[in-house]
């Protein structure tokens, strides 16, 4: 039994951006990745859409005042992260 949180009405639309899309986004705002708002990899939505650290996701929300509003998040690890994943990283 797995509940698909992405289909819940309170969860906005999420999409992982491609490398080109990220480049474009950063150049539009004239920023580096670190200036983006952040979201952790362990976030339920991050897990549901399958993100990796360093990804940028696009969020489209319905807004009462603006109709649709678009935001972006940089996916980051939580603090030290899981030490086991740290160890497995060593292989690659």
């Amino acid at each position: 039994m797995h509940f698909n949180i992405l289909k819940h009405e309170l969860v906005p639309y999420f999409k992982v951006l491609s490398r080109e899309e990220v480049e474009k986004l950063l150049s539009v705002y004239g920023i580096s990745k670190g200036d983006l708002p952040k979201m952790v990899v362990t976030d339920p939505v991050s897990r549901a859409i399958g993100t990796r650290e360093g990804d940028v996701v696009k969020i489209v929300r319905r807004s009462r005042t603006a109709g649709e509003s678009v935001a972006y998040r940089l996916i980051v690890g939580t603090g030290m992260g899981d030490i086991r994943t740290l160890e497995s990283d060593e292989e690659d």
Binding site: L36, T65, V70, M80
Partner: protein, 878 residues
């Protein structure tokens, strides 16, 4: 020469002082606890050593040779060599973390090689992605703590506890600061390159520096002694603390060198630790604060900085300023809303800087010639003079009546003249608490006699001011930039539309509204004389009045041409189907092409916070037009109310006997109903409301009955007190008071409640000893059937006080709580900025919102929160 060129701080590096550094920056070692000798001269190598700086004017510092003052000697540090090391209280938490995460014998971080490599990489990636690393250090420590045995030397790790505030224990065994320091030295030797994993930057800080061996002594300028009138010297709290420290340090050294028993040495060691701990922070948890002989706690380093009275909040974030004034405010309807009346005495003291150029030379010379108190010309009460001339070299010349003529010759290009405040100068006017930006607005000065600030009544709502003794502050702008910015952004008319909800916050109040209501209600007809007088008061001195005029005609004159509006008035009775233009009560306002065709003018049209007409004029004709309209409408309102006459008194609440009988009847009915409910409850016949107990059901039902009873009183009162009644006129037009206030005065006060329930606490099973135990009736539970006019009986009065007290406590609690909440919000949001590309970013460039408020709309420019009002636009186009 001093320059005012701004300097930009690129970065600030915080770090620890090493013992070597402390010695190096020290002007002298301090060895004697004494300060001054019998002759009053500072003792060499004492706490007041002249090499630490000077505090007496005229003396020269022995280190730098400068005098006291702004550009003089800043003071110099000294140092005390501690006989034994001492823990720095500020870093116990950090020390504890390091001790717990490392091995005592080899100093290694308690993770294996593989984990360490992973940690290093993780740190790097965090740094690269621009994230904070403070949480990381904490996690490293909690990971390393889990190790039972050192992976490098095999020593079994013991449990380290902190005995607050500064004692470390290893499995219950006390560790001396010397032992702790030794351990930390080992850590910084073995983990030299990985100290950053603990959150320490090895370039500026080392673990062992957190245990002091040398104590810096702050310059005397930071702890000046004061000489009392008696000639006695009184030392600063910090000096007292340092004296204690040196004394104990000396004794410790003597005892240790003489080979005294370990116990005595340890006692002294703990004592010096206490003195140094309280020197840093005298409110450290777990130890008693150091006190004066008088019992007052000493104010040491942390106390100087911390809290509302500390250096940050009271001297850096907020300061006392020059060119400011404060006095009582009083009303003046003859001033425009963007003016402020300033007393002559203040205007003479407050000045504006005028730079002398070849172009204004003659003017300025004429100004200086007047001196500081010029005689005003006939018919005027005030003429500005000049207080000071600042010459190009920065020297100030005070202008007096005697030297005015010679001073005039000193006026040259590049000099600045401090000219007294004059009519039309722009100033900031402010009333605390400054809760929103309208609490501080720019006004134009009008210099007037007497001693209060005068202001237009229409600006009371944004400042939340009244005239029961309120005081306000005034700040005179000095630079041209400031004046320009205030002119564009802060003038009163620029703030008529609030950014809070996109509506007006400045508008007519009280009598202005009653006046306009009386003017337009029932479209009363005024004879020619009255019409001329009212229009003249509103500023239409030469308007040609041909004959009798209706109120609506008069009001239409002040409306701008081409104004089209229609809306429901405040006094709208909310019929089931609105008949709009055909409203039988004349409560639907229709304005076409600047003519008031239908409807009555009340709070909804011109009131502060509501005024639809004001809002529309501001948007369509500009803020200056709105300002002019508010000035006119308030004056017209006052003229109208003076023409018709208006007064209210307690007899406004007089009701015919018939009405009083009806009220009695309704009260009796309500009481019966309650008795029935109680009876039903007692007999178990009461039907439970789903989800409620029987008792709750009864309470709710009774509350409903009493609530309805009060409403019915209101209806009866409203029915018998018609629109001929002044109090009703005020309530219906929204000028002041409500129908509820009226029904409480004329009908009945109603049920009193504490915490939303009928009053039930007090004596055992009853509220007061006057009632039977278990009485659930209306009277026994706080229903007040009397009205304010008739007066309350003693039990009713008591219940009413209970309810009233709750209200007072609630407001007191709410203000303090919301104040703190606001403070936290402001601190969290203060460095956000809306950039030109529409994003909201912090000062570091981090993006907070990609589009301001999701929709990019400035609420101050919105129409009550919406970007555009389509209906209005359609109407205007058609």
């Amino acid at each position: 020469m001093r320059t005012n060129a701004p300097k930009k701080i690129d970065s600030i590096q915080f770090g620890l002082l090493s013992p070597e550094k402390i010695r190096k920056m020290s002007a002298t070692r301090i060895i004697t606890p004494d300060t001054y000798d019998e002759d009053g001269f500072p003792i060499e190598m004492g706490l007041m050593d002249p090499r630490l700086g000077v505090i007496e004017p005229g003396l020269r510092c022995k280190t730098c040779g400068q005098r006291v003052g702004r550009d003089g000697c800043p003071g110099h540090f000294g140092h005390i060599e501690l006989a034994m090391p001492v823990i720095h209280v500020g870093y116990v938490k950090t020390i504890l973390g390091i001790l717990r995460a490392t091995c005592r014998s080899c100093g290694h971080l308690q993770v294996d090689e593989k984990q360490k490599r992973a940690l290093r990489r993780r740190y790097k990636s965090l740094k690269d992605s621009g994230q904070g690393t403070s949480g990381f250090a904490k996690e490293v420590i909690s990971l390393a703590r889990k190790s039972k045995k050192c992976p490098y030397c095999g020593r079994v790790n013991k449990n380290i506890e902190l005995d607050k505030p500064t004692t470390f224990r290893e499995e219950g065994h006390k560790m001396t600061p010397a032992e702790v320091r030794e351990w930390l030295e080992k850590v910084s030797a073995t983990e030299e390159d990985d100290l950053y994993l603990f959150g320490i930057n090895p370039d500026v800080a080392r673990p062992e520096w957190m245990v002091l061996t040398v104590l810096p002594v702050s310059p005397v300028t930071t702890r000046p002694s004061i000489t009392l009138q008696t000639g006695e010297r009184s030392e600063d709290d910090l000096t007292h603390k340092l004296v204690d420290t040196i004394r104990i340090n000396q004794r410790l050294q003597e005892n240790r060198d003489a080979g005294a028993p370990q116990l005595i040495v340890e006692d002294l060691w703990e004592l010096i630790q206490y003195h140094i701990t309280t020197y840093f922070d005298n409110q450290t948890a777990g130890i008693p604060p150091a006190r004066h002989r008088s019992g007052r706690a000493l104010k040491t380093l942390a106390q100087r900085l911390k809290g509302k009275e500390g250096r940050f909040r009271s001297n850096l974030s907020g300061k006392r300023v020059n060119f400011s004034a404060r006095t009582v405010i009083s009303p003046d309807p003859n001033l425009s809303i963007n003016e402020v009346g300033v007393p002559i005495e203040m205007a003479r003291e407050l000045t504006v800087k005028v730079r002398v150029t070849p172009y204004n030379m003659e003017e300025v010379k004429e100004l200086v010639m007047r001196g500081p108190v010029p005689l005003p010309p006939k018919g005027k009460v005030y003429l500005p003079g000049v207080n000071y001339i600042i010459r190009p070299d920065g020297r100030r010349i005070k202008v007096t009546d005697e030297n005015a003529e010679t001073a005039t010759e000193r006026v040259e290009v590049g000099a600045v003249v401090e000219k007294q405040l004059d009519d039309g100068d722009i100033v900031l006017f402010n009333r605390q608490p400054s809760l929103h930006r309208m609490s501080m607005m720019a006004h134009k000065v009008r210099v007037l006699p007497y001693k209060t600030f005068r202001m237009n009544l229409a600006v009371c709502p944004p400042y939340n001011a009244d005239f029961d003794g309120d005081e306000m502050n005034l700040h005179v702008l000095q630079s041209e930039e400031a004046k320009g910015e205030a002119e564009v952004l802060m003038k009163v008319q620029e703030n008529i539309l609030s950014p809070r909800f996109g509506g007006v916050v400045i508008g007519a109040i009280h009598d202005h509204i009653t006046g306009c209501f009386l003017l337009t209600y029932h479209n009363r007809v005024f004879d020619r004389d009255d019409a001329i007088r009212m229009l003249s008061a509103a500023g239409y001195h030469h308007y040609e009045v041909k004959g009798d005029m209706t109120g609506k005609e008069i009001f239409s004159i002040i409306l701008p041409e081409g104004l089209n509006l229609d809306y429901r008035a405040q006094s709208c009775v909310n019929c089931e189907t609105c008949r709009k233009e055909e409203c039988p009560y004349d409560n639907y306002v229709v304005i076409s092409d600047g003519v008031l065709e239908k409807g009555v003018i009340d709070e909804k049209s011109i009131g502060a916070f509501k005024g639809v007409i004001l809002e529309h004029i501001g948007r369509r004709y500009g803020m200056d037009a709105a300002r002019a309209f508010i000035d006119k409408v308030t004056k017209l309102g006052i003229a109208a109310i003076t023409t018709t006459g208006f007064s209210t008194g307690i007899d406004d609440e007089d009701m015919p006997d018939e009405a009083n009988m009806q009220i009695e009847e309704q009260l009796a009915k309500a009481r019966d109903k309650i008795d029935q409910l109680i009876k039903a409850y007692n007999e178990g016949e009461l039907e439970e409301i789903p989800g409620r107990s029987l008792e709750e059901t009864l309470e709710m039902e009774i509350m409903r009955v009493t609530g309805r009873a009060r409403d019915q009183m209101g209806e009866i009162a409203g029915h018998h007190l018609g629109m001929g009644n002044s109090a009703v006129i005020m309530a219906k037009s929204g000028a002041r008071g409500s129908m509820l206030n009226l029904s409480q005065m004329a009908g009945c006060v109603g049920q009193q409640a504490v915490r939303g329930e009928r009053i039930h606490r007090g004596y055992k099973e009853r509220t007061l000893p006057h009632f039977k135990k278990g009485d659930l009736g209306a009277r026994a539970k706080g229903f007040v059937s009397s009205n304010y006019k008739k007066g309350l009986n003693p039990t009713e009065y008591f219940f009413h006080s209970m309810g009233g007290r709750e209200g007072l406590v609630d407001t007191a609690v709410r203000t303090s709580r919301s104040g703190y909440m606001q403070r936290r919000l402001i601190n969290a949001l203060e460095n956000l900025k809306l950039e030109n590309d529409g994003t909201v970013r912090t000062t570091y460039g981090d993006i907070i919102q990609f589009q301001y408020g999701e929709d990019g709309i400035d609420p101050a420019k919105s129409v009550r929160g919406e970007a555009v009002n389509i209906d209005q636009i359609v109407k205007e186009v058609l």
